[in-house]
Amino acid sequence: MFEINILIQLLAAFVGVGVVGQGFKSGMLSSGYSRAFAGGSVSLVSANFLGGYAGVESFLRVCYSGGLGFPGQLLIISLGTLILAWGYNLYTFRRVIV
C-alpha cells in the first residue's frame, strides 16, 4: 500500500525550504549552516506535528483508503497537486511559491 506518510514528509520538506527561502530573502540565515539547520529543524518539526500530534496522517490514510468517499480522494489529489506545484516551482524558479 502506498505510504501516505511520504506526502507528509514532502509537504514538511517544502515548508522547510519555503521558510528558509523567505528567511534568506529577508536578510536572515545568511550562512549555509544556519539555512541547513533551520530548514532541517522546520521540516522535522512540521512532519512530526502533522503526522503525529495533529493527526493529519491518520486522516489522509482514511481518505486514501476510501473511508470518506470521493471528497477524501479529492483531498489526496489536491494535496498531491500542491506538492507537485511546490516541487515544480522549486525546480524551475528555485523558490517554493512564485
Binding site: V62, G67, L74, L79, L84, V98
Partner: protein, 369 residues
Amino acid sequence: MSEKGILSPIAINAVAIMFVLIGLPFAVSLIANSNALPDEYISSPAFDTSINNRHDNWLTMNQTGVISDDQGDTWCGGYGYGGADYFPLYENCPTVSGTTMYNFNGDRYQTMETCDPTTFSTGSNRSSCGDGPYTFIINTGQIKDSLIDRTITELNIDMLAFDVFAGNSFRCDNPTIFNDITGSAKLWFNSGYLNYSFPSQGVIPSTPVPYTYQQNNAINVFEGAFTSVNSIVVESVENSTSRSIDYLCQYAFSISIPITAMNGFLIAEMAEQNDDFNQSWFVLTLDELNVPDLSQGLEQSGIHVPFFPTQGVSGNDPYLIHVEFGIISESSGSLSVQAGTLILSIGLFGVALASTEAWDPFMERVKNV
C-alpha cells in the same frame, strides 16, 4: 503569483505555509471530531441462562474464580499465580500477553490486574483489588456482520450486580452504596488473530470461545475521565411481594465511551484489513476509581461495584453485563465529515493554484465572468 497582487510575495508564502501548518491540522481536527453521534445502536448478544431470563440481553459474567458448566467442564475463570506473573490453570482460559483473562460465558473477559489471586482463592476481599486497573476485553466477532461498512463512534457498557435476580437489593437512598464513581478510562482497538475453541454439544456457551488473542495492530481510540452512576432501579422486581419499594435499587456501573469519527474510520479500516471484525476486539482499562462524594477510593470497604468480588464470597460470584455499540452508517452519518473534507480539498487546491504563475490569469478570468 506576480507582485501586483494585494499581498506581497513574502506574505503569500507565509499564508501558504501557515495554511499547511495551522489551517490543515485545525480543519482536520474539526472534521474528524464532527458528527460522531451514533444514529443506531447494536447490542452484543447475550447467552440465555436460567438466571437472566428476565433481561435476556444481560450477559452473566463471573467476578472471579472457577465456573463449570452442566457437563462438569471448566470454562476458564481459573487463575494461577506463579510468583511473578499470572498463568492460566485451564486450557480454555484466554490469555493476553501472559496475563490470565477471565472467561465469562465465552465472549467477554475481565481481569483484575491489581487483585491478589491468593486472597481471592481463600475468600475474596474487595480491599485487595484497589482502585484499578481493571481490564475488559470486548470481542467484536459476535456482531461482525452488523459492523461491516459501519463506523463505531460510541461504546456503552452497563454492568449490574447479579444479586438483582438472586433477591438482594438495597435502599436507593443509601449514600454509602450509591454514589457517582469517577475514574480514568483507556480504550484500545486491536486486530490480530483469535484462537477459537469449539465446545461440544450441550456445553455452555454453545458458540466458539476465543481463548488466545494475538495482537498485530492496536490503536488508542479513547483516553480520558469518566463518571459512572453506580445505582440502578430494578424494575423487574417491582411485582415482588418479598420486599418493599424502598429496596428496589441495585448497584451498577455504567460507562459510555465516545469515539471520534476519525478513530471510527481507522477502526473500520483496521478491521477491514483483517477479516473484518471477526479477528478484532476492544480492550477497556478502567483505573483510578474513586467516589468523590465520600472522598474515598474504591479500595475501601462499603463501596459496591458489580465487578468487585462480594465480601466473603470466594470464586463463583457473577454479575450482569450489557455491551452496546453506537454506530453511524457510511452513507448517512459521515455526510458532514465528507462535506468538510470537500471544502478542505478545494482549499488545498486553491493554495496549490495560488502557488503557481497560473493564479493571476485564473483570477482575471474569474473577475471577467
